[in-house]
Amino acid sequence: MELFNAIVDGDPDKALSVANRLVERGFDVQRLVTEILVPAMRRVGELFDRGDYFIADVIACAEAFRRVFENVVRPRLGGSSARRLGVAVFGTVKGDIHDLGKTLAKIIFEVEGFEVVDLGVDVSVEAFVEAVEKYNAKIIGVSALMTTTMIEQRRVIEELKKKGLRGRVIVIAGGAPVTEEWVREIGADICGDDAFKALKKVKELMGVN
């Protein structure tokens, strides 16, 4: 419960020290993920949905999660069990250097068992498509925070079609200004105006819980 609270409070230092203590006492790392870390991040999601948490809170919680995951869980995980759901390629489109939403989505997707390849910001259409091919990605998250750069999302989808890759990936058009209408218009699969909602839909489309 102490670790759960440290994550939900967004206290990375405390989360790390408590997690280390738990593991040293023999607590199984898989259980640490499934019984504490993921439920804690779910709780964070609920608090956000309810309006109690701001984005800044969620980022602090995600950082606490990431610290534990990278330092305590990952070194002890055998194989790729924590990356069982496949690769997701995330990036912010060309001309746009905002990455707040994308960073949040990345961590949330990692928590749920995706391997996230982060292409960073100002990513060209070609770089998106190349990454999908290279990593055999199942999901592509194309983020834009400005109404003027949203058009790049359409270009990424067109390029995916040209390369015959469209059918292979779930496309999330991410970013605060993205609407369901826009998603339909450009032929994306998921409206990623909210990372938690997007994750839920991705899992529905993939048929996993």
Partner: protein, 477 residues
């Protein structure tokens, strides 16, 4: 002369913020995406550290000295409209909405070229809106020419000065050609102002930095619009956002002056609150408005013309919220002495435009300007004799005194669309319906300012060329 004038920062406070911003430029520096632009600064005494350009204080002071303190703004036909730098209060519609609010359905829809013509005609006939702006992005032309074509209907139908901006490096020169085609000495007596926005925090994209350099070289007034997003792209505190804002604008002033000495620049801004839950912008948040009011005093400190985004609303409908946000922001803009105020007509975080709101905002600006005008304390206005005369010999009825008739038109401003009627004369229609009727009336009866036929032919030729390059047929409006 009693006149409301709002100052937020004392001289000492303004100096403190100014010095802090300089420190930011010296120690944190600015990132320029474009290498050539970065070189311009580096060759003139700026230093590079970890890909950031550190700008020394001397360079900033020199640039501030070189920037013109006043900019004379003209209309399309060459008549002087205002002197920017003297609290000109030039209101103009907000910029670059991707949607228009449909009156019937109350749903946002994509604007078409015909809407741009409507906008140009309406603004031409708005008494208190002194400049046009390329406020709508047309959805029925290819993406790559959407910035350029917005100028066409304005140049064709309206005389008023234009606030605009380019979406690409290349299109800027085409837009400048459009303006020059209409009047040969368009830069000597400027009637266009171009917006350029740094990307917060403290960086400049290739597009905007190159635009700024090209505008400076051409001698066209550039509005440097920093847009710190409180709590996401800038500190969440007002003072922190203010320092970052000021540093970004100063970096733009330095770049412009290095590109061309005495390049005309306007100190602009569009601070916003990044919604703590949604991450989306809230432009009329009180915190954002406080940043604007404070940078207005910084612009005064360095004696530059100053611009703001006010008179707009974040509401989705033309409703109570829209009226309230537009009213308090317009009033603040007027009484704090901004030169250029962009925003009227705009809803939903500068993304949806409403003709009806524009008409109502025109009314609002009339009232706001009346407040701003204040009043005089002359003998005639103090009216001591009038009081004595009326009370003692006209049974206290001022309607009977000639002073009333003589002064009433000068002193009193009455709104036209806003309802100030007694109930017995009330139309029983809501203000939104009244505004729509006015929109229809203006489109039916409003006047336009046509170009000379020869000039119009030249403009048409450029317009056709733009469509030709994009591989589509021109849309004539």
């Amino acid at each position: 002369m009693p006149r409301p004038l709002l100052t937020l920062l004392s001289l000492e406070e303004a100096r403190e913020v100014h010095c802090k911003a300089i420190e930011v430029l010296e120690k944190v520096g600015v990132k320029f995406e474009d290498r050539e632009v970065a070189k311009t600064l580096l060759e003139n005494g700026a230093l590079e550290r970890d890909g950031r350009v550190l700008i020394p204080e001397e360079l900033i002071n020199e640039a501030v000295k070189l920037a013109p303190k006043r900019i004379e703004l003209y209309d399309r036909d060459g008549s002087r409209v205002a002197t920017l730098g003297e609290s000109a209060s030039i209101f103009n519609p907000g910029s670059a909405a991707i949607k228009i609010l449909d009156y019937e359905s109350l749903e946002p829809r994509s604007p078409v070229m015909e809407d741009l013509k409507r906008l140009a005609v309406i603004v031409e006939n708005m008494y208190f809106i002194d400049a046009q702006s390329t406020a709508l992005v047309p959805g029925d032309v290819p993406m790559e020419i959407r910035d350029v074509v917005r100028l066409y209907p304005i140049l064709k139908y309206s005389r008023k000065p234009i606030i605009t901006g380019s979406f690409t490096v290349e299109n800027l020169s085409i837009m400048l050609d459009f303006a020059k085609t209409v009047r040969e000495d368009a830069w000597k007596r400027p009637f266009t102002i171009f917006d350029v926005c740094p990307s917060p925090p403290l960086s400049w994209s290739t597009l905007t930095s190159r635009n700024l350099v090209d505008l400076a070289k051409a001698g066209v007034p550039a509005e440097i619009i920093s847009m710190p997003g409180l709590g996401s792209t800038s500190p969440t505190t007002i003072a922190g956002a203010l320092i970052q804002h000021h540093a970004e604008v100063l970096s733009g002033i330095v770049l412009a002056q290095l590109a061309s000495k005495n390049a005309p620049v306007i100190y602009g801004g569009s601070p916003l609150l990044a919604h703590p839950r949604y991450g989306t912008p809230v432009i009329t948040a009180p915190e954002a408005l406080l940043v604007s009011l404070a940078y207005r005093d910084l612009a005064k400190l360095i004696e530059l013309p100053v611009h703001t985004y006010m008179g707009l609303s974040d509401s989705k409908l033309v409703d109570y919220q829209a009226g309230a946000e537009s009213a308090y922001s317009s009033l603040l803009a007027a009484v704090s002495g901004f030169d250029v105020v962009s925003g009227p007509g705009m809803l939903e975080f500068e993304s949806v435009f409403s003709f009806e709101k524009l008409v109502l905002d025109n009314e609002l600006i009339g009232l706001v300007k009346r407040i701003r005008r204040g009043f005089d304390l002359s003998v005639d206005e103090l009216a001591f004799d009038v009081i004595m005369d009326t009370v003692l010999s006209k049974s206290g009825n001022f309607l009977l005194h000639p002073h009333t008739r003589r002064m009433i038109r000068r002193e009193i401003h009455l709104p036209r669309i806003w309802d100030t009627t007694p109930r017995s004369r009330w139309s029983k229609r809501s203000i939104y319906i009244e505004a729509h009727l006015e929109v229809e009336r203006l489109l039916r009866e409003g006047s336009t300012s046509p170009l000379e036929p020869e000039v119009e032919r030249r403009l048409d030729a450029l317009y056709i060329e733009v469509f030709k390059k994009a591989g589509v047929k021109p849309i004539f409006i």
